[in-house]
Amino acid sequence: MSLTIDDVKRIAHLARIEVTEADAHATLEKLGGILGLIEQMQAVDTTGIEPMSHSQDVTQRLRDDVVTEINQRELFQSIAPAVENGLYLVPKVIE
């Protein structure tokens, strides 16, 4: 299986990364090499093998339903690119 330049542009869009035409061509070559490496996996028959998502067989811990965090809005927003009246500013999304 080989990628096309349109695939690269589609993936970049899904990943929310702007690519120029030149970037896309350079990326196509490098991704091709990486996907070629990944393709080695297909040589092994894995029918019936249970997928392993995690190395430890643990279950999610539960905790009491109580307030544990204090409000630190001002501290956390002090490092934001743009805020106003305690809100994060982004370009208009609803007309």
Binding site: D7, V8, I11, A12, H13, L14, A15, R16, I17, E18, V19, T27, K30, L31, G33, I34, L35, G36, L37, I38, E39, Q40, M41, Q42, V44, T46, I49, E50, P51, M52, S53, H54, S55, Q56, V58, Q60, R61, R63, Q72, L75, F76, S78, I79, A80, P81, A82, Y88, V90, P91, K92, V93
Partner: protein, 484 residues
Amino acid sequence: MINASLKELATALGAKQISSVELTQLFLDRINRLNPEINAYITLDADRSLAQAAAADALIAQGKAGPLTGIPFAQKDIFCAQGWRTTCGSKMLENFVAPYDAHIISQFDNAGAVNLGKTNMDEFAMGSSNETSYFGKVQNPWDRARVPGGSSGGSAAAVAARLAPAATGTDTGGSIRQPASLCGLSGLKPTYGVCSRYGMIAFASSLDQAGPMAKSAEDLALMMNVMAGFDTRDSTSLQRDTEDYTRDLNQPLKGLRIGLPREYFADGLDAGVAKVVLDAIEQYRKLGAETVEVSLPNTQLSIPVYYVLAPAEASSNLSRYDGVRYGHRAAEYTDLMDMYCKTRAEGFGAEVKRRIMVGTYVLSAGYYDAYYLKAQQLRRLIAQDFEQAFKQCDVIMGPAAPGTAFKTGEKTNDPVAMYLEDLYTIAVNLAGLPGMSVPAGFSNGLPVGLQIIGNYFSEARMLNIGHQYQQVTDWHKQMPQGIE
């Protein structure tokens, strides 16, 4: 003093031969002199470091010192430290000042240790040479034209050049063990879940694990006593009894069964590295160990499996960098989508973008089963290989990296060649096992590490195995030239 062990430093501090302020200043002076070239540190804050040192001196004067009180440590710039710029080696976080402490940072603070500065690293820990850092390459102190390894390359170079007594690192696919090997250090990646990931900037969450990098196994054990432990803020932190990682250091090795995986000594291993590793194993036989050949048949597959799972997890983790709440935001954009795309195009470097795109691709509609699910199935086979091997042996030994430090720029244009650097380390992360590298000698003047892989939670035994070797060898005490 610059080559002293942590125990020796603690003794000197306790005996008032030197104060923590003097010790910290000694290392800061060395950093000022040598770091402009080596580039092991990204951020220094002498006032903060010295204030911590003064507080440590007060504790020592009151007789309240612990084993690490007053000792300065370099912290990998992946750990959030309140008030410190925390960049993760990326332009995306160039001006990010962490609003809270990572668990690991709190643990060092609570132990009265001094934060000496934040060390350079591959961007978002994605690399094996420290060349992907936005803040520049790092020199290997053993040969300045070569890489220190990565991603914890700054931490490795800092300790190797004696710009810190010891440092922290993180290891997702070999990022502690490979730079430790290339820089002549001892480095331990603990069992997954032993050190909290809270406040440690995420790369691939099911593989990321923090660990210590130092000169000796004994130093690693002392650091593990501070770094390990349960933390409710990390959902994968393991709830276990507190361990003293120094408890077994002096145990004899008689009867130790060492497994030698034939796949770790096959094609792809540099002959000079192989010789050093086999000599080290011979030394273990002299210490009373027995060796047995084992097989890890899926070793080669660990690289493709890793380069599906790690990018998949990374593409999800790094989606948080959107220019809205913190980090870089593009200066000009037309709408929200354009803001995301430009922000991420500007903020991430080439390798990070590649991995995000690989991850995005393997998780995209129609490809999930062929890539992600397949990789998870193979991950189980890889973990089962180790399970089988540990029926025949107590620990596994082999090389930590296929070669010694390579020249800067040698592998930058070929991501796949760079990925093969981690051939002997990645499977350990996939299985969640502990792995360690200890200095075992030199090949053409460059350090070579011996990798020791243990079963789950066998860190204390592994440290014992490293320590006993270091009682009869002095590779871990050697220093590079030109760092006086």
